[in-house]
Amino acid sequence: MIGFLIKGIIRDRTRSFFPVLVVTLTVAMIIFFQGFLTGIMNSMFLDSAVVSTGHVKVMTRAYKEDSQLLPNDLALLDTDQIINELQKDYPDYFWTPRITFGGLLDVPDEKGETRAQGPVYALGVDFLSTDSRQFEIWKLDNRLANGRLPEVPEEVLLSTTLANRLDLSLGETVTLIGSTMYNAFTTYNFTVVGTFKLNLGPVDKQMMLVDIEGARMALDMKSAASEILGFTETLLYEDKATVALRKRYNENHGASADIFSPTMMALRDANQMGTMVDFSNAAIVIMLAVFLVIVMIVLWNMGLMNGLRRYGEIGMRLAMGESKGQVYRSMIVESVIIGFIGTVLGTAMGLGITYYMQEVGLDYSSAMEGLTSTDIIMSNVFYAQVTPELYYIGFIPGVLATVLGTMMAGRAIYKREMAQLFKELEA
């Protein structure tokens, strides 16, 4: 039966060409948009996670309340112990301490007097400990504009914008002027060994990256950290799993009334990221639904036209004794085959385009430079992402729309009057 139908589809190209073409193009578009949107969202989530939020992060409750003020006097203490516990309890994530702090960067002249000075937003990141993945997830090999990566805690990287503003050269000493975790005035010397460009809009305009041990020495924060960030091993953000983890952790640590007890936040809890996560999920569902409806209507229309063209054939089959149900079912099987072929071709085409955009990307630098907000971290270049779901997601609209379109068009079969068949055939 199926072999017979396939032969029919191949031999009678007018029966298959346009439906396959429509399904192919539509599935290709769905695959590409899904891959592009997923790429943008995952890239944005990962960039945001790397720079500030982690996929989850742990901090004290008091720190969480005033987190906009970077209150390091409310930081977590004994972070090694907390990290060991987190690694034991949640092994699907890797955990890393982070210190976020602000201050002034002072550049001395040869006499030690101030030559240049400017505000700095600094991150103490665990770059140098054994097994750290921070250089990898920050992609610093690619983002390094000049110089080299830090090798000791007293070496720092500055954003190219900040280094240019302070007219700094590699190897120069800069003095951080800031506050310790006890709010005492502090100064600390660092050596600039490299400059970087994150390509994440305005977020790195005043940024300095330093190893966490350097930050701890500068800010008198021995064994302390502002936050502990957790990342999934795959680096892909999974909202439901992350929210469940946050809920479980906070339930386990919720009994204490101590304002310095740890609490966990998921990526969606920070900087309106929840809206972005929900938008991303909703956008994909809406996009699929819209495409499904459009394709269904197109194929319905094509089925109706096809029905007219095959009016005689269907009449003949009915006149020869095939039941209306048999004819209807054979047309649906035929549409499944057409949908399947179209989806396979569309998926191949869509994956090809998505893969191309994954490698090349869409450069949006000029538009991003106009942004001034640093709350939402977004890449200057939008990349698509080929994910495993792209290999099968096209089958849902591709086959379903073809079948539904055929089912609606095929209803005409049941309207044929058997008594009229021979008259129609004679005509």
Partner: protein, 247 residues
């Protein structure tokens, strides 16, 4: 000098004896006389009560008039060797870790000194109150069995950190036992109290101040405990040079 101070006290005692006839200006003047001197050398400790723990920072200060001041921090080890120099309206700090002399200016003056409830601005503004404020007497009150005047002071010069302040002044000691420091809008910014009043070189002087930054949530305040104080000591001029910071 001693003679002049005795005369001031006699005049004040006489004035008070005249059924409270002492003027507000005289109260402020007497208060300034107690708190300010031609020069002073102080060894003190600052106990900063944080939300988690308390830290004690010991220092030695050399002060001449209101324009020259030099501070050297003695402990804890991280702060030891840090020095500060005030020359007129300029403030420099030196840290041995960085071997840098850095001028503190602009918004940095609003930062806390060593994590305490005092800012650099608080350290800078130690001119006599009579030069800075117009005062009005709001009334009298008894606190802990001692009589106090309540004075309200409003700035007569621009640019002060606290354009308004209210002081509870002990009628015998001529010291502001309690002060509330306000912004121009009337918002309470800081409070200070003092205790352990002792007679030091013919003047009443507290052995402990307690400052509290009211803008810091859950602030537990900072104690400034005077271990030793010597008024009108001879201080060589070389003490107040930038070169001295690195020595």
């Amino acid at each position: 000098m001693k003679m002049r101070r005795t005369m001031v006290f006699l005049i004040l005692a006489f004035a008070i004896g005249q059924d409270g006839a002492i003027s507000v200006q005289e109260i402020i003047q007497a208060m300034d006389n107690n708190l300010n001197a031609k020069s002073r050398v102080i060894t003190s400790k600052m106990v900063v009560h944080g939300r988690r723990s308390s830290r004690t920072i010991e220092s030695k200060n050399w002060v001449v008039g209101t324009n020259l001041a030099f501070t050297e921090y003695l402990s804890p080890p991280r702060e030891a060797g840090t020095k500060m120099l005030k020359l007129d309206d300029k403030l420099w700090t030196y840290s041995p870790q960085t071997d840098r002399v850095i001028q503190i200016s602009g918004h940095m003056l609003r930062q806390s000194v060593m994590g305490s409830d005092m800012s650099y601005n608080d350290m800078m503004e130690d001119r006599p109150l009579t030069d800075l404020y117009d005062a009005t007497l709001e009334g009298s009150v008894e606190i802990d069995g001692r009589d106090h005047w309540i004075l309200f002071l409003e700035a007569k010069v621009k640019g002060l950190s606290y354009p308004k302040r209210r002081a509870w002044i002990d009628k015998e000691w001529f010291l502001p036992m309690k002060e509330e420091l306000y912004a121009k809008s009337g918002k309470l910014l800081k409070t200070s109290t003092m205790d352990g009043i002792k007679k030091v070189q013919d003047r009443w002087f507290p052995s402990r101040f307690i400052f509290r930054d009211e803008l810091k949530r859950n602030s537990k305040g900072t104690e400034w405990v005077i271990n030793e104080i010597e008024f009108n000591a001879e201080i060589p001029e070389g003490r107040f040079s930038k070169a001295r910071l690195r020595k």
